[in-house]
Every structure is written in C-alpha cells, then in structure tokens.
C-alpha cells in the first residue's frame, strides 16, 4: 500500500519538475545554450535543497519517513512553480504541439527509468530526462521548423509584397502601427501582431494571417539574442529597413551596447532602403539607399519642432505636420513613419491628415480620464521597460503644470550590469520632476527606496500595484502616471 503511495507521490513531484522545466524552456524560446544555462542556474544552485532531500531519500529509513520527505519535496516544488508563475512572470505554460511532443517523450523515458531504477533514484534523474527529451526531439523540431519556414518563404515569394522591416530597442510596435495606419487605406497592408517578432512568430503570422494580394507587409524584427536579426534577414529580406533607436535592453544576453547596435545594423545592411533618425543614430558605411530624417545632416530636414502638453508640431522639408500624441518618443516614431510612407509614395496631404488622427498604442503613454468626483488623468505607460521611455513619460508629465502628480512604479528591472546606473538615473529623474512617488515592490525597489530616502524624498511603499492604484485614486491626485512593467494591470 505504502509503496503505491510513494510511486504516486514521486510521479506527482516529477510532474511538477517537468512543468517547471518546460516553462523555463518555453520562456527561453528553446535556445539550447540558454536552456543548459538555465538548468544549471535553477537546478543546481536554487534547487540544491531539493537534491539534498532527494539524496536523503536514497537511504531507506522507513516508508513513513520517506513519505514525509516526499511531502516536503512536493511542497517545495509547488512553491517554486507558484513563484515562477505568479512572482516574476505571469505567463503559464502554453500547450503547443512542441510541448505535447516533449511531454510524450518525457513520459516514455520516465516510465522506462522508473521500471529500471527505483523511484528514489528516478526523482534525481528527472532534470536529466527533461534535458534528454529536448536532445532527442531536436532533429524532429528542426524538421518541423524547416518545413514551416519554407512554407512561409514560398508564400512570400508568391505574393511578392513590399516588405518593411522594423528593428530597434524601443518603439518598434509604435512605428509599425503608425505606418500601418497611414498607408492601410491606400495599399493592402498587413502588419505583424504585437508579440510576433521572432522567426517562428513571423512565420506563423505569414502562414496564417497574410492573404494573397498583399501589397505591403510590415514586420517587426526583434533581437533578444545575438544572431537573431541575421536569422530573420536570411528568412525574409526587407525592402525597407527601419531602425528606431539603440538602448540598453536585453543587456543580459548582449553584454554591451555596441553589440546591440551592430546586431540591429544588420537589418539595414540587408535591406534595399534604410530609414533612420540622424539625430539619434549615426550609421556609417551603408551601401544602399539611405533616407535620413532629422534636424541636421539629413535627407528629410526636420525643423520648428514644438513638443508640449497637447502633442507635437513640426516641419519636414517645409511641410507642417502636427499630432496630438504626447512626448518626444512619439514624435521620433512618427518621423520614421512619415519618412517610410513618403518613400512608398503616399500622398502628402493624406499623410498629414492621418498623422493628425493617430492613436496611441495600448498601454504605451496611453491617456485615460477617470471621473472620481473630479477629473483624474491616468497616463498608462505600463508596457514600457527602458529608461528613455521612463524619462519621456516624466517629461510629458512636466508639461502639465499646477496639478497634483503621482508616479506609480516598480523601477526598471532586468538591466544586468547596468542596473545600478539605470536605477540612479530613474531616481535622478523622479527628483528632477517634482512629484509624489508610490513604489511597488520589485527586485530594484529596495535600491530606489534607499536612494530616495538618501535624498530626503517622501514615498509610499506598496506590495501590489492594485493597492497603490486605489490609494492614488482616493487621494485625489490630478494626474497618475503608471510606469514600467506593471503586469497585473487592471484599469476600468
């Protein structure tokens, strides 16, 4: 009887481990090198305790003690997974066909090992089994991937659309949406949806959503690891390459900003026409047609720029454009969108009209008005995750004078070695623009709290966003700025 219970508990705990490992793998896009790294980091270092318990279990004390350890084992695993899902990331495991294949192989190997060895030894081998299943399945995945990519490639070759590729650290989605809004009425246009910026994502988008007859295709070329852009470019060569900016994002995988820039430049070098903002970037040795937009040394000369609380207003080659979108970031993104639309050959009057009526991308400097006895302006910038966006949002806020302002933020997380510098910059900016601070607990919030109190700045700490938000509403602030990676966001 007890032996069956032990088998049951072992199986249960192995299911927990498999779930945890698959989740890690999925969130690392199944990159093999990172997978091993991840396994080392989380299984040897953090889950060392688990191994200790497993090791103790090897000695056959008595069934009762074994069961006791089993229970602890499962509790710890459960806690780990719960932390993984609800602590750092909100995304649970997506059951894709790849994951299904993996589970099948896992189960097969597990049954085999459990048959050969005892459950006590089996539980120690679970991580190895999980890794083994990835190795076993690798050729099959390669094949599946290859056919999938070929299908998408063939489709593109058949349709022959004009392809616009956009890369950069921030503002990819905004530029994409702006271009789409400007040209969609004139050309049959499809733009890749928000999160589809990896190779497989783009393939999926092309295979499933691009219809025959497409004239323009707007794709986001994301780069979170070295070599990503090259892979994407080899898959689909863009006709027009646009680079928004280069910021220290994904610094954990890129090590320094120069490599990021080099990586992103690859898109421009591989496209027929390049568009970039010459005020932000300078890229040398481009052999193809270059359209620079900016205030100096540019093909499309920008002048008379006014950015204020009601939007921005500027001239390009003597033609006036205006928009109600706030902030410098938006202005920069719109410039790129205009340059691209002009190259495609959209009528200038139509561009002016469309730019005037552009709408903000959701959760990116999005303005909402709430009536709670009086009007409260809520600026939602929760999808932002870099310092430039942070500064930009604060700058927007500074245009609104004479109002009670509050910022709700957990700081900027996942910056690797630059964390200290960026956190300092965050604090510096918060101090520069005078406003109240509601700090949400995160990995960097302690540092921010310390720096704030060093500068004798008042702030209130919160555990979750929702509390801070409710407090801000009830305190009768006029403007509430929600900044950075608040994933449990819930606005009505």
């Amino acid at each position: 009887m007890l032996i069956y219970l032990e088998y049951f508990l072992t199986t249960l705990s192995s299911i927990f481990i498999f779930y945890y490992l698959l989740l890690c793998a999925q969130q690392n896009h199944y990159h093999f090198n990172y997978l091993i790294k991840y396994y080392k980091k989380y299984l040897i270092r953090i889950d060392g305790l688990l191994y200790l318990i497993s090791f103790i279990r090897l000695f056959k004390f008595s069934n009762i003690i074994n069961l006791f350890f089993d229970t602890i084992y499962i509790c710890i695993l459960f806690f780990l997974i719960a932390k993984k899902i609800y602590g750092k990331t909100i995304i649970p495991l997506k059951i894709t066909s790849r994951i299904k294949r993996n589970i099948i192989v896992n189960v097969l190997i597990s049954v085999l090992t459990m048959y050969i060895f005892s459950p006590n030894i089996y539980i120690l081998l679970v991580p190895c089994i999980s890794l083994l299943s990835f190795i076993v399945l690798e050729p099959i995945e390669k094949l599946v991937k290859y056919t999938f990519i070929r299908k998408a490639k063939k489709k593109i070759e058949n349709i022959k659309p004009l392809i616009i590729g956009i890369t950069g650290s921030a503002g990819k989605t905004s530029v994409k949406n702006f271009i789409y809004t400007i040209i969609k009425d004139k050309k049959i246009t499809y733009a890749s949806p928000k999160s589809y910026n990896t190779l497989m994502g783009l393939c999926r988008f092309i295979n499933e959503e691009v219809h025959i007859g497409t004239e323009v295709l707007i794709l986001e070329y994301g780069a979170s690891h070295k070599g990503d852009i090259e892979k994407l470019v080899r898959f689909i060569k863009p006709d027009i390459g646009i680079i928004t900016n280069v910021l220290p994002q994904h610094i954990e995988t890129f090590k320094n900003i120069e490599t990021i820039k080099k990586e992103k430049e690859k898109l421009l070098r591989n496209s027929r026409v390049c568009i970039y903002n010459s005020d932000i970037l300078s890229i040398n040795n481009l052999n193809n047609l270059v359209i620079k937009i900016g205030k100096k040394n540019s093909d499309l000369l920008v002048s008379d720029v006014v950015i204020d609380g009601s939007g921005s207003c500027f001239m390009i080659n003597g033609i006036k454009y205006q928009t109600s979108l706030l902030g410098k970031c938006n202005y920069e993104n719109i410039l790129l969108a205009i340059a691209c639309s002009l190259y495609i050959g959209i009528d200038i009057n139509e561009i002016i009209d469309k730019v005037k009526n552009l709408e903000q991308v959701e959760n990116r400097l999005e303005i909402k008005k709430v009536y709670n006895e009086k009007e409260i302006i809520i600026i939602n910038d929760s999808f932002n995750s870099n310092i430039e966006g942070f500064k930009n949002a604060l700058e927007v806020l500074s245009f609104m004078e004479g109002l009670n302002k509050v910022i709700i933020t957990p700081g900027i997380v996942e910056c690797g070695k630059l964390e200290k510098v960026i956190t300092e910059e965050v604090v510096e900016n918060i101090l520069k623009y005078n406003m109240d601070v509601f700090l949400i607990e995160s990995t960097t919030s302690k540092k921010i709290a310390k720096m704030l109190s060093d500068n004798e700045k008042q702030f209130i700490k919160f555990k979750v966003f929702q509390d801070a938000y409710q407090k801000a509403l009830s305190e009768k602030y006029d403007v509430i700025l929600i900044e950075n990676d608040v994933s449990d966001i819930y606005l009505k």
Binding site: I188, E208, H211
Partner: protein, 359 residues
C-alpha cells in the same frame, strides 16, 4: 493563387452558367491561378472533380453518381477559408461566381460567400437583390431620376381586371427571358399574369413599346473607377424572344451599336451614374430600351452576373477576357480588405452585466 470557379446552381439558367464557366476557363490565366471548379447541382449540392475541366461530364444525366466526382464543402478555419474535399483542405483565395438567375444572382450567393468571408467577384448583397428584383430596381432608379417604362405591380393577392392595351407581363424575380409574356387585351393579359405568378409571387405589368431599339452596355470597376464596355445593339424585330430562341439561335447583335454620338454619350453617362450610385464592384450589364418616338432612354433590366461576363463587349474596347478576370480578382481582394478595415465587431460587456444583475 487558388481560385474557385463556382457554377451551375438551382436556377432556370443552370445550363447557361455552365457555358459561362467554360468561357471563363478558356480565358483565365492557368499559369497564374490554380483553378478549382466547384459545380453546384440543380439542388445546390456542391461537387468538385478534375473532370469538370471537360464539357462531356455535364452532358451526362447523373453527375452525382460519377465516381470521380467528390462532395465539397467550404469552411472558415483560423481566419482563412478552406475548400474541403474529403480530408483534403485547400485554401481558397478568391471565388469567381458564374451563376445566373433567381436564387443565386439576387444576392443569395453573395450572402453565402460573405458569411464565409472569402473575396468574390460579386456585388454586395443589398445591391444585388435590389437590382435583380424588377420592381425594386424600378423604385430605386425612379428615386434618382432615371427613366423606367410605365409599370404596375400585382401580387398574388391582388385582384386584377380591366387591363387594356399591349402589355408585357414579367415575374419580378426571374432573369433572362423566362417568366416574361407579351399580351394584349384583358383576357390575354390575365392569362399571362396567371402564368407568370407561377414563377414569383409578384409580377409587373409594363407598357409595350412599339418603336424602339435595345441597347446593352456592361461595366466593371477597376481601381475605384468605372470602366465602360462598348454598346451593343440587339436586333429583336420587335419580337419577344423565348428562352430557347435567345440562346440557341442567337439574335442579331451589332457591336458596337450604330447609334449617333449623342445617344452614345447618354448611354455612357447613365451607365456610369448607375455604377457609381450603387457602388458596383463587379461586372454588371445594363439593358436599355430607347424609344425612337419619344426619344426617351429607359433602363429595362440590370444583370448582376451577365452571361459570359459580357466579355464580348469589353473586347471591343481592347479589354480581353483574361485581363477582365484579372481585374475582377484584384478588385475582389481589395474589396474584402477594405471591408475588413471597417469596424464590424465591438467589445461589449452586455453578457457580463445583464445576467449577473438578474441573479
């Protein structure tokens, strides 16, 4: 590009649509398009077969029982439309409709493919049904000041008597020459009405013109602009053509019509007006009657899916059938894209609030 050509169908003009289909097949660029013929039987069952590329199979009586003929259905999966032949899925990019007559041309088939959400070479449902119905067409045209022949509407519930003079009795919803009777005198007209009521619940009784010429003009839309065909004159010898006569011993057609410049301009102008007013987006043919006595140009009939897509009229203007089909396919794709841009769904909380409150 996968192009489905749908033809046949439950209609009196079933056979004509097969002829139109073969005309399309002969002209369409088979290198550019993968053509999948889908045959709608006389009770609208859908079939696919490679045999449909040859005429022979349609001469046999029971196409259904042929082993090479397979049932087909259309299905929308994941934002795309597929033609499903047994277990094989084929993505459909465009559907060319080669079907004529009531129950298909009158917006019904447009509706079917609209729900599926696949681009078709058809006009909108509303435009199709208004222009196909002889009564509503007259109402709509009168409203925008286009002349139609004097008429009277009779339904099967109306009492009709005391009808005099030379009249043409037409069933409201039948195309071609079926359900159309010429009659003079009360008794004969009454008999004709009775006969026509077999085809439709409503008939219109029109005055018969005595001294007139019949002119036809087709038009289609290319990049948002109306493209007019040449005008043809149909010599009818003032005789009303029966169905058999119309198709088997074709009447004399003069292309381009020998008419003066002024009349030609009037016809062109009117066609363009109709094309723009009804936001036509496919090929249509407008049949005019020109009264030589009173010099009035009447619109007699509008064909939403004209026989052979009236390609012979466009050829006169240097637009060949292949090119016409290319343009129709492009504008069909464009139209679907434009439709999709329009706001058609709306996030609502009705389901969440109303029912919770009741609890």
């Amino acid at each position: 590009m996968n192009v489905v050509i749908a033809f046949g169908g439950k209609s009196v003009e079933h056979d004509i649509s097969i002829i139109t289909y073969f005309q399309i097949l002969n002209s369409i660029d088979l290198k550019k398009y993968h053509v999948y013929p889908v045959y709608f039987s006389k009770d609208n069952e859908m079939f696919y077969s490679k045999e449909f590329f040859e005429m022979d199979i349609f001469k046999s009586q029971n196409i259904k029982n042929n082993k090479k003929v397979k049932n087909v259905r259309f299905e929308r999966i994941n934002n795309r439309v597929f033609m499903i032949i047994k277990n094989k899925k084929i993505e459909v990019d465009v559907v060319i409709i080669s079907m004529h007559g009531k129950g298909l041309e009158d917006g019904t088939i447009s509706g079917y493919f609209d729900v599926l959400g696949v681009p078709t070479t058809l006009n909108n449902v509303d435009v199709s049904s208004v222009l196909h119905d002889k009564y509503y067409m007259k109402l709509a045209l009168e409203k925008i000041g286009i002349k139609v022949i004097n008429y009277k509407l009779l339904t099967k519930r109306d009492y009709y008597d005391n009808l005099d003079g030379d009249k043409i009795v037409k069933a409201c919803k039948l195309g071609s020459s079926i359900g159309i009777k010429k009659a003079s005198g009360n008794e004969e007209i009454k008999l004709a009405i009775k006969d026509c009521l077999k085809y439709d619940d409503r008939v219109i009784v029109e005055d018969l013109l005595t001294n007139y010429i019949e002119l036809n003009q087709a038009l289609y839309i290319k990049k948002g602009k109306v493209v007019l065909s040449a005008i043809e004159e149909v010599k009818t010898n003032n005789e009303l053509y029966s169905f058999e006569k119309k198709y088997q011993s074709p009447c004399e057609r003069i292309i381009p019509a020998k008419i003066n410049k002024k009349l030609e301009q009037r016809v062109n102008h009117l066609s363009e007006r109709i094309g723009n007013f009804f936001l036509i987006n496919s090929v249509i043919r407008i049949d005019y009657l020109y009264d030589l006595d009173s010099k009035i140009l009447y619109v007699n009939e509008v064909n939403l899916i004209p026989g052979a897509f009236s390609y012979y009229l466009f050829e006169e203007k240097g637009i060949y059938f292949g090119e016409l089909l290319d343009d129709l396919i492009t504008s069909a794709i464009r139209k679907k894209y434009d439709d999709n841009l329009k706001i058609s769904t709306f996030p609502s909380s009705v389901l969440f609030t109303k029912y919770n409150n009741k609890k």
